[in-house]
């Protein structure tokens, strides 16, 4: 069992999840509360990683973050190294790749909050930010858990983006799914079975946490 890759995978997934929640909560709030004509476009772009082949996304990012573009050169000048083939590069890729897995449960959760609450809060002078923080988030807190767990698991399991953007550098970009691929390539099926079992157990455990431990308590009145 490659514990270095295991730790790296967890670190990548945790970092990605934290960043994603920080991005997705305000974005989902905007999507639900805004009446802007750009809403549909933004929602479509945020959902794009669901259907885009991960290798395509990985390739775009590889080119964008590499030395060929101004963006890539700018980032390299600031960081002292290019983002491609680094842990930070993987974080950027994972955040984009898992974005819909955070945004969609949040949008669904926020939408299910009765509009009467939002109207009442607005009439009392609450800004969109306050509606988001003091109403939508607490009333749809289960969707926050769902968003966090799905983003985490989706990042743990990503392969195409990691391979295209990160290469296979031990300690920097070699995640468990890359290890698994290498093990199968080398016909080391025993090790591959172990790695698969770890990834499988992680997913089952986390999903059980979401679906079993949190049942809605009673009906809502008022």
């Amino acid at each position: 069992m490659d514990w270095q890759a295991f730790a790296l995978t967890l670190r990548l997934a945790a970092t990605t999840t934290v960043i994603l929640l920080a991005v997705a909560v305000p974005l989902a709030g905007w999507l639900v509360l805004s009446r802007s004509r750009w809403r549909g476009v933004v929602e479509a772009v945020a959902a794009l990683p669901l259907v885009l082949p991960p290798t395509v996304l990985g390739f775009f990012l590889l080119v964008l973050l590499g030395p060929r573009t101004l963006v890539g050169r700018g980032i390299a000048a600031i960081l002292g190294h290019p983002l491609a083939f680094s842990f930070s590069g993987l974080v950027v890729g994972s955040v984009i790749y898992s974005l819909p897995f955070a945004v969609q449960p949040l949008v669904a959760g926020f939408t299910s909050v009765e509009t009467a609450y939002v109207d009442a809060a607005r009439l009392l002078g609450a800004s969109s930010m306050r509606v988001l923080v003091s109403l939508l988030v607490p009333l749809a807190r289960r969707s926050l858990l769902v968003a966090a767990v799905l983003s985490f698991l989706h990042t743990v399991g990503e392969f195409g983006v990691v391979l295209m953007l990160g290469g296979d550098i031990p300690g920097a970009t070699r995640t468990l799914s890359i290890v698994l691929y290498n093990q199968v390539e080398n016909f080391d099926y025993v090790a591959a079975a172990q790695t698969s079992a770890v990834l499988f157990a992680l997913s089952v455990l986390a999903l059980t946490l979401v679906y079993a431990s949190w049942r809605p308590r009673g009906g809502r009145r008022a």
Partner: protein, 239 residues
């Protein structure tokens, strides 16, 4: 003084009203589906006319223009000094009774906030509800807290959309009596929508009669609702 001129279309329904409410308390009377709730939501600033079509809205309160669309004037909800209490109290279920009432008091210092909440609890007779979970309140109790929440930030216009539907009639009457004293004393103009004529007669309000999206009459209850009064008297056997 509430002045408004509204043309709005909601599906096949058209609301076309043009009026001036001078009375401190106006009862908006009309059957279900006559457009009372739509009118109140537009007055509150919650519903705005669409970009196209003949829709337009002009609302001013005590000479201050709140909405003038499509001419680009629409004060944000928090700045209109307007509160709306609807039939469904919509108390924030995750917040306590006190936190609900305090919600609109952001920026107030602690002492005046507490004093205001106390005053509101007293007004709607809800002091006994303070320790209770919001979700456990009965319909009538929740409506009283919703009223306290709406009045806390000192609105100048209070819009009530059948707000006492869940109160039994004696509780409703006593609350109305108290409000009828308190609101004018605190310079809050009130518009109360109802389809229940007894609510209209319970106050000394002016009555505006809304039928099919049009205001048909405005005046003292005994004039505007004479027909309705005869009907009610007939039903209880008095003359």
């Amino acid at each position: 003084m509430l002045e408004f001129s509204i043309i709005a279309r909601r599906g096949g329904f058209q609301l076309e009203v043009d009026s001036l409410f001078l009375s401190e308390w106006t009862v908006l009377f009309g059957p279900s589906g006559s457009g009372k709730s739509t009118l109140l939501r537009i007055l509150a600033g919650l519903d705005q006319p669409g970009r196209r079509g003949p829709e337009r809205t002009r609302i001013s309160l005590d000479g201050q223009l709140l909405t003038d669309l499509p001419n680009g004037v629409a004060l944000p909800l928090g700045q209109r000094k307007t509160s709306l209490v609807s039939q469904h109290p919509s108390l924030f279920p995750h917040l306590s009774v006190i936190a609900n009432i305090e919600f609109g008091l952001r920026g107030w210092d602690r002492k005046s906030r507490k004093a205001r909440v106390d005053e509101m609890l007293e007004l709607v007779d809800a002091r006994a509800l303070v320790g209770r979970r919001t979700m456990d309140l009965s319909g009538g109790e929740a409506q009283r807290v919703a009223l306290a929440r709406a009045l806390a930030p000192c609105p100048r216009l209070l819009l009530l959309d059948e707000p006492f539907s869940a109160l039994d009639s004696s509780a409703s009457d006593s609350l109305l009596t108290r409000l009828e004293r308190w609101l004018p004393a605190n310079r809050v103009q009130t518009v109360m929508a109802t389809h229940d004529a007894t609510d209209a007669f319970a106050t000394h309000a002016a009555v505006a009669l809304l039928v099919n999206g049009k205001l048909e009459a405005l005046g003292p209850a005994h004039q505007v609702l004479e027909q309705e009064r005869q009907r009610l008297l007939g039903r209880i056997g008095g003359r």
